[in-house]
Structure formats: C-alpha cells, structure tokens
C-alpha cells in the first residue's frame, strides 16, 4: 500500500506584503485579543467556570482576522463551533462572548448556546454551528436571500477541513455555483478533522482543487501569514461581490491546542506541533512589523497589555452576569406563543 506524505507545510517563513501602521495595529491587536482571550478561557475551563465543549483556535488567529477584515457590515457570516476568533474579529463584544462561554444570560446568545453557538444577528453573525458542514447550506440560503432581494452583500462561510468530507460541502458548492450565489467559502484547513489527519480522511488532500468539480473558483493560501491571507480573502471577496459566483479559499493553518478540552492528543506527534509553532502567526506578524519598522516593540507590548486588559474586563462582565431564570426555559422555542408541545 502506498503511504501518503505528511501534509505540506506552507513554504514561506515570513509574513509578506505591505501594511500601514493603523491597519497593523488593528489586526495585531485583534490577533492578540483572540490569543489572550482563549488562553484565559482555557484557564477558566480548568477552574470549572466554563463547561461543556471548548474548542480553541490558538494558532489560527490570522485566518479569523484576515477573513473578517474583508467583509462589510452588510455581509453575513456563518461560522463553526471553533468560532471565538471569528466572533471577536467581527466585533462581538468580548464580554458577551465570555459570558456566553460561562452560560450567563448576558452572553451573546443568552447563555443558551455556550462556546459553540455564539450568535450576534445585529452584526450578521449567524452563529457557531456545531454540526460539521451544517452551516454551508445556511450560507447558500442567506446568499440566495440577498440575491433575490437585490442586496449587494456576500456571505462568508467558515468551515474546517473535516467539513470537506461531508455531503453538505459538495451539495452546497454545487448549488451555490449552479445559481451563481455570492458565497465566500472559507476553509480553515488545520489538517485535522478532530483527531483524523487530512491524509487519513481525504483522498485528495489539496482542498482547493475540489472547487473545480463544481466550477467554483478556488485558491489556497498560507493561513499563518496574515497579510497573505488578508490579500487572498480580499481578492476572493471582490470576485464574489462582482457577481461571478462563489469562491473557495483554502487557508492552511494549524491548531496549536487540543481539539477540545477533552482531547489527549494521541493522534499527532509533539514534534509536529512544535514545528508549526515556529510559524506562530502572531510571532511572524510581530517580526514583520518590528523588522519593517511599522510598529515599535513598545507599541506591540502595549497592544498585548490592552488585549489582556480587555480579556479581564470580559471575565468581569461574565462573572457579573445573571443566570437565565429557569422559568424562561421554554421561552423562544417558537416565536409564536405556543405550548412547547
């Protein structure tokens, strides 16, 4: 039996592309916030403040920030269960995200969804979806609604490499392409579907190639390079916005932490993780900004302090939140007043 090679590491070892200081501050600040926020969430999980599933995106921050940066306020976002970074980058208040992780009534979804189900409809953030590939058909429908109502918005649909094995991925790409709908399919390929390596679940490990079967334009980008990813997302989003139909952008990234807090990580070697950590998207971006004289070290340190402070405020907000009264358990099963059954 032929053995498959390990998935290709992105080749670049440095962040590429030009950036102005204001944007740099904004993006690095967001990446740091996601990192500090999730590090804190992991601590709070160990402390028993957060329960259930908690999926961290540490290592994948460049994709979150780059993806959301290309969108307008009118665009829709459909996300996954690993969505804290997407939500924070979209501007969902960190306190509301943290309170949701706690399950408090001041959380983004009144605490009912928890880590995997952050919704903020005002920001057109249509949720973390905990069914792998479950969000793709919803994104197609949101895009269809925009098309039918002649709105210029696009829908960004984030999903992982695991989703590519699901029928809903293939059905959705086909339908979106057939109807030329404005969907930006953003695959965050972190090389593992929970514990199953890409080469162990895909016969073709180059995910970007899969668009061709549905006549969907596609590309792959180094998801550890925030500038390259931002440029690729911007270009893809422009194409989608122009009415050319959907686009599939594969962002190659890596999750530094376990799949969830329950995961003993028996399926991958520590050396592999260490190798990827040498391409930490935050470290790479920092080096680029400092090296290029765009931001000074002290300025970057201040951004980090700000991220830590924002995280602490988010925790305080969550701590101060109330629990939803049990009397409201059946509220909002239906929009209309009905007996639950």
């Amino acid at each position: 039996m032929a053995t498959r090679e390990a998935p290709p590491m992105p080749l670049t070892q440095a962040v590429s592309g030009a950036i102005d200081a204001a944007t740099a501050r904004d993006w690095l600040g967001q990446m740091l916030l996601i990192r500090r926020f999730e590090e804190k969430a992991a601590e709070l999980y160990s402390a028993g403040k957060i329960r259930g599933f908690l999926h961290l995106s540490i290592g994948e921050e460049a994709v979150s920030v780059a993806a959301i940066a290309a969108l307008t306020e009118a665009d829709n976002i459909v996300s996954t269960y690993r969505e804290h970074g997407h939500a924070l980058a979209r501007g969902v208040p960190p306190g509301a995200v943290m309170a949701e992780l706690y399950g408090k009534a001041n959380g983004a979804s009144r605490g009912r969804g928890g880590s995997m189900h952050i919704f903020d409809v005002g920001r057109r953030f249509f949720g973390g979806n905990a069914i792998v590939a479950g969000g793709l058909p919803l994104a197609v429908g949101l895009a269809l609604a925009d098309r039918l109502q002649q709105r210029p918005a696009i829908t960004a649909c984030l999903f992982g490499d695991g989703a590519v094995a699901e029928g809903e991925f293939h059905e959705s790409l086909n339908l979106a392409s057939l109807w030329k709908l404005p969907v930006l399919f953003l695959c965050e390929n972190n090389y593992y579907a929970m514990g199953t390596a890409l080469a162990r679940h895909q016969a073709e490990t180059d995910i970007s190639l899969k668009g061709a079967a549905y006549r969907v334009s596609s590309a792959a980008v180094d998801g550890m390079d925030v500038l390259a990813t931002a440029a690729a997302v911007r270009q893809a989003a422009e194409q989608v916005r122009s009415g050319a139909g959907p686009f599939l952008l594969e962002c190659r990234t890596y999750r530094f932490r376990a799949h969830s807090m329950y995961d003993p990580e028996l399926y991958r070697a520590k050396e592999e993780v260490e190798q990827w950590k040498r391409r930490d998207p935050i470290a790479l971006f920092r080096a680029r900004l400092e090296g290029g004289g765009i931001l000074a070290a002290a300025e970057i340190e201040a951004l980090d302090q700000e991220a830590r402070a924002t995280t602490e405020q988010a925790v305080a907000f969550a701590e101060a939140g109330e629990w939803e009264p049990v009397a409201d358990l059946c509220k909002d099963v239906y929009a209309r007043e009905l007996p639950c059954a």
């Binding site: 969804g113 949720g127 895009a143 269809l144 609604a145 339908l175 239906y334 929009a335 209309r336 009905l338």
Partner: protein, 333 residues
C-alpha cells in the same frame, strides 16, 4: 367550490407567489416537470425561474438553503418530494431549523414552510411508503401539520406562511387526486386546531392525514351497527390540540387512535399517553391503537393492504373498546 387536493395546493401556491414577493418555491422537479405530484404545474411559466426553482437532488443543501433564505428575510416554500427523501435533510431540520431560535437566545426565527408527501398505499414499496411525520412531531422548535381535506390543503399553506416559525406540511400521497369542497378562508389560525369531522357519542376515533378518510369510512360502517363514532382529525401534529382531543374523549369515554406510522414510539403512543394521563377516569376502556404493521411496507397489494391501517381494522378496534372484555383478544397492531 369543488376541487382536488392537488388543485387546492396549486391554488394556494399561486396565491402565495402572487401576493407576497418574499415567497418563492424550490425543490426537486417543482419547475419544468411541474412537481412530482403536479402540485406546482404551470407555476414556473407563470412566475419565472427566480421564484420557482428546480434544485439538484441535494435535500440537505436546499432545505438548509431554505432555512438560510428565511433567516435572510424571505418566505421560502421548500418542497421535498417525499418524506422518504427528507431523511437526507434531517440534519438541517433538527439541528438548524428547530434549534436556531432557542439556541440564539431568541435572536433568530425561521419562517420557513416545507411541504412533502407522506404515506403508503400506492404499491411503491418500502423506500417510498414511509409515514414519518410522527418523527418530525417529536421535535420542539418546528410545527407539523397534516391537511386531510382539499379545504385544509388550500388554507393551511397561507396560514403556515403567516407563522414566524418553521412549519412542515405533510400531504398524504393518496390524497392528491381526492376531490373535496373548498370553502372561504377561515378565521385566524383555526387550521392548527383539531377538527371534528363526524360527531358521535360512543367512541372518539383520532386520525390525521390519509387516515381520516379511512376513519370516516369505518364510522359509516359502524353507524350501520348502531355505533356512533366521533372522528377527530388532528390537523396539527405539533403542537397537539390536547383540549379538543380530551374534550371529545371525556364525552365519548372511549378512544381509538389511527396512525399510519409504526406503533412503537408512534404519535399514536403519544396521544394514548396523554389521554391516559389527563382523562383516565373518564375512560370506560383502555385506549386502542390501529397503526401500520411493524414491517417495511411491502410492494404486493395484498401485503401492503395488510400492513396499513384499513377501515375494517378500525371497525374491529372500535368494537373492541366497546366490549372491553373482548378487548384483550382484540386488535393491537
């Protein structure tokens, strides 16, 4: 005005597309083919391909797209050809349509209408004869209705489109050619209340969809024997109209539940439980059930007939509850 169930549906679809620009219809073969059951015949020509959309055979994608379009401000009507194929979309129904409002803390609602054919009786064998509306009725967050008459086929659709929540309409496949009287639109939302189709005093026969006609045929036969059976059409399977069911049972003191679903874990089981919980001391006999035999529905007519509820089995169940001593030996499955 007399028309077939199919024509009633087409009239309702035409009206919906004419009066609300947010409404569109999508599903497999709803356009150029005219609908597998011809409910949408002519609508593509009348309303164009933007509003009458043929989809690929991708149940999960187009049901999910219906949910997404509803979130985006549209009023989609999704036709899934039959309940059998709807299983391919069950993820979107149960994990998205039913959960989004509650799970988002009330931020979202999904004003989606999904229509599909259900039921057996046409000799199309096991994979095309399921009656799984009871499964859907299990799920909080969606509403489930079953029009049993042309009148209800005509008026349940506009009522469903007025709902802010996802509504699933189950159309029994045997009913499409059935003709019936279609009256004026009833007042606000009576379609989601159960209806007494034939008043009686000796026993309440509870049915829905394709079983209502069978229950009425049974009642006709029983009347000749001096038994006055009341036939109750559930119409809404979720939520159930407990008040109407219990009022009838308390008056008649006996109940037979007819359900084309399999008996184990069925909607009939739920109804029998509610009657036992709420009206036990009003009963003169245990509640009886007439359900499908617990087999995949077979192709040959004699076996299919034997598998599905039939008027003679309903009559036997009624006689059984009227003579409790004989009930022990009476009809079960």
């Amino acid at each position: 005005m007399r028309m077939t169930y199919r024509e009633a549906l087409r009239t309702a679809l035409t009206e919906a597309l004419s009066t609300d620009p947010r409404v569109f219809l999508m599903g497999e073969d709803v356009g150029r083919y005219g609908g597998a059951y011809a409910a949408s015949k002519g609508l593509l020509e009348q309303f164009g391909p933007d509003r009458v959309r043929d989809t690929p055979l991708s149940e999960s994608a187009f049901v999910g797209a219906g949910i997404g379009a509803a979130l985006g401000g549209m009023r989609p009507i999704v036709e899934v050809m039959t309940v059998n194929f709807s299983l391919l979309a069950l993820d979107q129904v149960v994990n998205s349509a039913a959960t989004l409002r509650h799970m988002s803390g009330g931020q979202l609602n999904v004003p989606l209408v999904v229509r599909m054919a259900t039921g057996g009786g046409r000799q199309v064998a096991a994979q095309h004869s399921h009656s799984l509306e009871g499964w859907y009725a299990h799920v909080p967050g969606i509403r489930v209705v079953a029009p049993a008459t042309a009148h209800d086929a005509r008026w349940m659709l506009p009522a469903a489109l007025r709902e802010p929540d996802p509504v699933f309409i189950f159309e029994h496949a045997m009913l499409y050619p059935e003709e019936g009287e279609v009256g004026e639109e009833p007042g606000p939302l009576p379609l989601f209340a159960a209806a007494i189709r034939r008043p009686g005093r000796d026993v309440t026969v509870i049915a829905h969809g394709g079983s209502v006609g069978k229950a009425l045929a049974a009642a006709e036969q029983l009347a000749k024997e001096g038994i006055e059976a009341e036939v109750l059409d559930l119409r809404s399977l979720r939520p159930l109209d407990d008040a109407t069911i219990l009022e009838s049972v308390r008056r008649c003191h006996r109940a037979v539940v007819v359900d084309e679903g399999w008996r184990s874990g069925s909607l009939a089981a739920e109804i029998a439980s509610r009657i036992s919980e709420e009206a036990f001391f009003d009963l003169d006999a245990p509640v009886a059930r007439v359900c499908s035999a617990e087999v995949p529905i077979p192709y040959p007519k004699h076996l299919e007939d034997a598998a599905l509820p039939q008027p003679d089995r309903i009559c036997a169940a009624v006689r059984g509850v009227l003579q409790p001593a004989q009930a022990a030996a009476g009809v079960k499955a």
